[in-house]
Symmetry: C2
Subunit: 248 residues, 2 copies
């Protein structure tokens, strides 16, 4: 039982290094081949999959800890990251470390702060650390069983993302720099988990006034070359702060 | 220095009773005389005002702790309560307990989970506990200086409320059972901190399909008696879960 020994050895150090009671879990989304994907980790010694996470150092802001954990796992800091909810049920991690001593760090009560991240698929380098055996993107349409309350954390992240479609622009970190209307519509559909009417989508997304239509169109293919768009970053960032047009 | 002794005496008990590192702060809103108000507390021994808060017991879910703290402070559980953000900056409470020993409970590092509450003004009984000298509703248009990072916590709660106007119905816990269109418009205006066009407001709020127009109208007054509305609770609750009409 190599892994058990590792956790036991590092337990003492963890008590010294991190603030007690608090952990961080990250729901890292990307958009790839028209599917919304989430980064999952298989921890050594656990059957179920989990979300990547970590702890907060004693001399570290919580937000900085989230950035550090994300960077450790994806090799990049250049990711949209936002806190969305904190999970504090008493028994949320019960059963995860049954075979371990009660005194071990990992078996303490942790309240976990959830962050969701939007990452460009191609920019992420998957990093396997000493605690994990596999790190993998999985389509949200085909998720595995999660350990602890990680499916609750994932569900809440997705719900938050869906609700924020009404307030905030999305896509800059998920789509390529130039994209077609059908491509951004597919992103919205993947997040919402439903088909949208094409005409309504076009009208609504254009009303947000965050897209610039490019002179060029995409070459190749049998059909008429589709129009290309990019985000108007100034308007996009202003809408991130002030809310989308059509909001109250 | 009576208060200092009280905190010192209760410090040891607090270490035994509560989980470390975590506190809860509540932003309790009500709507009274056309103004959005927030419950503020003056802690003995502190010059600035603060938001009511507390800690999480070792055998208690975090959400249950929030309900308990709210009940202790307002005398009622019948309040809409929602977690909105967790505040984890290293120095967020620096300067608040300078005169105290470093070992005292209140001077530890606390990451604070923010909950906002929507309360019916008349139902709230203001409770002064042994730590506070005054508890008061204050109009959000005229707030006092806050201790620690409580103005950041308040700002984030108000921002969350504003954004949620686009996704969720609001008003059931803030308005009387029967209300006029100008009254619900004033609530929206108080939350948004801006005037809204009357015609646009009517159209948009009716499109949400959560209001029922009553047969009766309000008697008295020199002008034509205004129409009265109430929330259709079934549709209201469904919109709380599924989002408002017109959302994505």
């Amino acid at each position: 039982m190599e892994f058990k020994k590792l956790l036991e050895q590092q337990s003492e150090e963890a008590f010294k290094k991190y603030i007690p009671t608090l952990s961080i879990d990250c729901v890292i989304f990307s958009f790839h081949e028209n599917s919304l994907q989430v980064l999952t980790v298989k921890m050594k010694d656990q059957d179920a999959w989990g979300l990547p996470g970590g702890y907060v150092k004693k001399e570290e802001n919580v937000d900085d800890a989230a950035v550090r954990i994300l960077k450790d796992r994806t090799g990049t800091e250049n990711i949209y990251l936002q806190q969305f909810y904190t999970f504090g049920n008493l028994k949320r991690s019960e059963s995860a470390f049954e075979a371990y001593d009660d005194g071990i760090w990992n078996k303490q009560r942790f309240v976990s702060i959830g962050y969701y991240a939007l990452a460009e698929h191609s920019q992420v380098k998957l990093v396997i650390d000493e605690y994990s055996s596999v790190v993998e993107w999985k389509s949200i349409a085909d998720l595995p069983a999660f350990m602890m309350d990680h499916s609750t954390i994932f569900d809440k992240a997705l719900l938050t993302l869906r609700e924020q479609l009404n307030n905030h622009p999305i896509g800059y970190n998920l789509l390529p720099a130039k994209f077609t209307m059908p491509e951004i519509q597919k992103l919205y559909e993947a997040i919402l988990g439903k088909k949208l009417n094409r005409g309504n989508f076009y009208r609504k997304i254009l009303r947000y006034d965050i897209l610039t239509k490019l002179e060029e169109s995409r070459k190749g293919g049998a059909h008429k070359a589709p129009d290309l768009y990019r985000f108007d970053l100034e308007k996009y960032n202003s809408a991130l702060k002030e809310g989308l047009k059509g909001s109250w």
